[in-house]
Symmetry: C2
Subunit: 455 residues, 2 copies
Amino acid sequence: MPDINLEEITEKIKNILDTKNIREFRALTEDMNEADLADITEALEPERRVIFFRAISKLSKDTAAEVFAHLIPDTKEALVSQLTAPELGGIVDELFLDDAADLVEELPADVVKRILESASPETRQGINQLLQYQEDSAGSIMTTEYISLRPDMNVEESFRHIREVGTDKETLYTCYVTDPKGILIGVVTVRTMLLSQYADKIGDIMTDSNLISVNTNDDREKVTELFQKYDFIAIPVVDKENHLVGIVTVDDAMEVLEEESTEDFHKMAAILPIDEPYLSMGVLELAKKRIIWLMVLMISATLSGQIITHYQSVFAALPALIASIPMLMDTGGNAGSQSSTLVIRGIAVGELKIFDALKVLFKELRVSLIVGGGLAVVNFFYKYAMSGDLLLSVTVGISLFATVIFAQTIGGMLPLLAKAIGFDPALMAAPIVTTIVDAGSLTMYFAVASKVMNV
Amino acid sequence: MPDINLEEITEKIKNILDTKNIREFRALTEDMNEADLADITEALEPERRVIFFRAISKLSKDTAAEVFAHLIPDTKEALVSQLTAPELGGIVDELFLDDAADLVEELPADVVKRILESASPETRQGINQLLQYQEDSAGSIMTTEYISLRPDMNVEESFRHIREVGTDKETLYTCYVTDPKGILIGVVTVRTMLLSQYADKIGDIMTDSNLISVNTNDDREKVTELFQKYDFIAIPVVDKENHLVGIVTVDDAMEVLEEESTEDFHKMAAILPIDEPYLSMGVLELAKKRIIWLMVLMISATLSGQIITHYQSVFAALPALIASIPMLMDTGGNAGSQSSTLVIRGIAVGELKIFDALKVLFKELRVSLIVGGGLAVVNFFYKYAMSGDLLLSVTVGISLFATVIFAQTIGGMLPLLAKAIGFDPALMAAPIVTTIVDAGSLTMYFAVASKVMNV
């Protein structure tokens, strides 16, 4: 089935908006997914955009709210400034609370003020409650809009209840059972209910032992790990006393998973974490995120310079040695970052733990013997063919061998060491590993050169 | 709520297995999640493991099959060799077909032979059908076990139908409506059904226009993109004639998302993609995945060595120049990999397209002016304070400035260029960017040195 042709539909929409044919508008947009409606909203120019959005919200406030949640921050901001306070209030009250709270976090303060003033007191209270939770905590990504059932309800009554209250809930498929004090005592999925009889009691069919839940203060990464392990559609969030306070749904977990990967990619390239799209970041801000680590690494790299200065007499005697420095440095850096990447990613997806350190060390040692050996042999013949200098080729080959072994064991160990002392393993990636390996490989190079070539 | 204490439970299980108290065993394991049962299976020694697994499958074949699907390949293989053919057949027939097909792909040929011989003819046919689809295609990750409804059924009848056939289906929550020829004509969620009346006809409440589906041959990355855009629980997979052939569920999409990220991490560190856990990979295989790119990059890096050899007379005249080479190379490599990482990740999450190239170029230019300028100024003063050599400090400062600008524009452009000519942008990451930037920065360094210092 072909994808929706956005350009074609946008053109149609423009015509309909200009002719104000509300019936045609309804026919075209009614069955369209909110994410597609949001794409069309983005594609329209600002004047038509607000007319389009008003037309959607006349057909369904609920749809309009979901479309709004899908927009990028810049469009949201523009739209907020074009809508009247009652229009805005109508939308914000229809948003799922977690989306509304995200909105408040991502928009500038003056826009937020307008939004909160337009919302109903209940919505405002709900938003403020969600905003209390620490960034990157389970509480910060949960929604408070879930379905609660009582253990003495039967399946038929539960379905009736879901039909009454379900429209506003982010998921219907997992329902939560609490005692009168609000403590989570069971979980029941619609799957279980559909596969049971209408007269079955919730208390009898719910899962009530080994319940999986997270605490509001748990890291949101823990939430995504549980989703990956258990294939749930939603996970309950409880406070310290085990009161049910919210749920996290799988679509939000998937977003977190993507964000956490992006954060790791950035950290591993020596960039401070960025949570805005590249194109909407300001140049100054982008520069700031990037210059800090570059500065630290630049200063550290002068250490390698000092090693070279220290052995200046060796170079003076044998200038041909200099030509292999870039190859040694690059290969050492690449070999080390292979190991650190494998281990960092292994830790991130839960395959590697701190107590695997010895296994990793042993494996990296053996791998590096093969890899280093292979590279050194090829390099030796290549160098000898090019230069005809046997001793020089031996020196470079041995140094390369030692460099790869050093690089891959250091690269494999550093992320685990970082994890062990409570740092983020992703920081021990290519940039830092390269800096350390450079210093090591140059030192070894000179040591080997002075032995083999007697300088 | 505390996590399940795996060690404690495993100890309890060991005692129960040794005393053979089946009632206690049932009480302890009945409500436990399959993922946890799988963890316990992994934690047991081989002899107790097969007894444990047999005990679970006596209580429920269905649970045993799900536990089996959660095990790591090595444990699966060991278990297959310990089970009798009828036991094995019972498990394989209960597996979801996509899990069974995965099993066939990840285990050695002789083990697969035993599995296929033990399975029922229907299961065998189902597995073989799924195995036809290309690796990394939508067909390869779909399951054929979904619920179909007819448009003339009402909600009550649909619920009855779900109750009858639902146990074996991977999701009940999204049901698919096909015409007599098997062509997908509509989608209806249990949410919609629960929010409708029992008498409502499926044909009236289903979504039947703008249906989102993928083709069996589409890349699996397209599937994850659709999940991220639309927040679905399942997506239908159709063939060229629009016949419904399967569905992909959100938990499988989440797994794909994680695997695709891992693949990118590996590629960006110059490692050939690895789809096994680090600890279960053989040393030789790991070495093979790593040596190939290192070899290519090592040979390329000799280009930088040739540049140095070419300017040997400059070094001979001014040996102090050599000391700054590591700093220039490292900073250039780091600056370039920052840009390439941002752009590669931007492309991967769909934020950046090929036609954004000019915007990226302009942005990287401006960022690099600021970053390069900042680094150059700091480096100038640092170098001058250390060496007291004004001309040398100016030379290094200017070269650093030019290197960062070169590195960040090249780093930002290469992934987009790769994408434009049909290559994987992730290959244009740190290793290749560093090699190119090294050659450029050394050339600039010598050019600047000969101008400024007149050598």
